[in-house]
């Protein structure tokens, strides 16, 4: 099952890379044959490490929430950039950095990965490490609270609800 989903994914990526393809046109069958062979190889080599629960790939509601998530994420990303721009262009450099500890209630590995990546790309925060109990260590360019609960609410709260719907 894992191998099959990885095979389909790599086959799609292959066709996007070899994009202008027409049925019957030049190199059509060669494209399919080479892509299929490479996708099979990839699926057999890396199928084991792909994802823990492959059946989730076919759940439609996740994709709906993912579509809702993209604009939110993009909005925070642009805000983040102007925030960092302001701090680095200001002559006095108003930064107040530190590493804080926050807690997340997400359980799945892919969910935590997505959360860490979102945190890194959004306002003034950079994930440094995480431990097994769901605590994240986050470098914050402007520390507003050193308390675990409050920092979690500010940093993680923005994304956690919607990521839960996508990945759990």
């Amino acid at each position: 099952m894992r191998k099959l989903s990885l095979f389909v994914l790599s086959f799609i990526v292959w066709f996007l890379l070899a994009w202008p393809f027409r049925p019957g046109g030049g190199l059509y069958w060669q494209n399919i044959a080479v892509g299929g062979a490479v996708a099979l190889l990839v699926a057999f080599l890396f199928g084991e490490v792909f994802t823990e629960r492959p059946h989730r790939i076919f759940r439609i509601t996740s994709y709906f929430w993912l579509l809702c998530y993209i604009p939110i994420f993009f909005y925070y990303m642009v805000i983040a950039n102007f925030d960092v721009l302001y701090r680095l262009l200001h002559p006095k450099m108003p930064i107040n950095p530190g590493i804080v500890k926050v807690k997340t209630s997400l359980k799945s590995k892919s969910g935590i990965t997505a959360l860490c990546n979102s945190i890194t790309l959004t306002p003034g925060t950079l994930t440094v490490d995480l431990d097994d109990e769901g605590y994240l260590y986050i470098h914050w360019i402007n520390v507003r609270s050193q308390d675990v609960e409050e920092a979690s609410k500010i940093i993680v709260g923005r994304f956690e609800k919607i990521l839960k719907k996508i990945f759990e």
Partner: protein, 111 residues
Amino acid sequence: MADTVGIVVITVGIAFDLFGCVGLVRFPDIYNRLQAATKCVTLGTCFILLGVLLVSGISSTGVKAILCLIFILLTSPTAAHALARGAHLFGLKLWEQSVCDKYEEEKRERR
């Protein structure tokens, strides 16, 4: 029309990349520098690729630009985690005026 918009978007992207590099020079320690480097450079590169997509349309180049965009959004923050964690485990200190370092306390407790 799409050409003009595309070139404007590429220009904005290059500006973000430039400011990311300014941040790399100005900020005091590795963690703050990584903040500037990941955020500004990721968004800047995304804008450049979006501009390429707008200029070239859904063609061979445009589709590759979308693929690159997705890969950059996935890999750039991951590289930043790896660098920040590696630096901290190696023992690089935060800037003197930093407020707190919960990670350092945690590491001491574990020892």
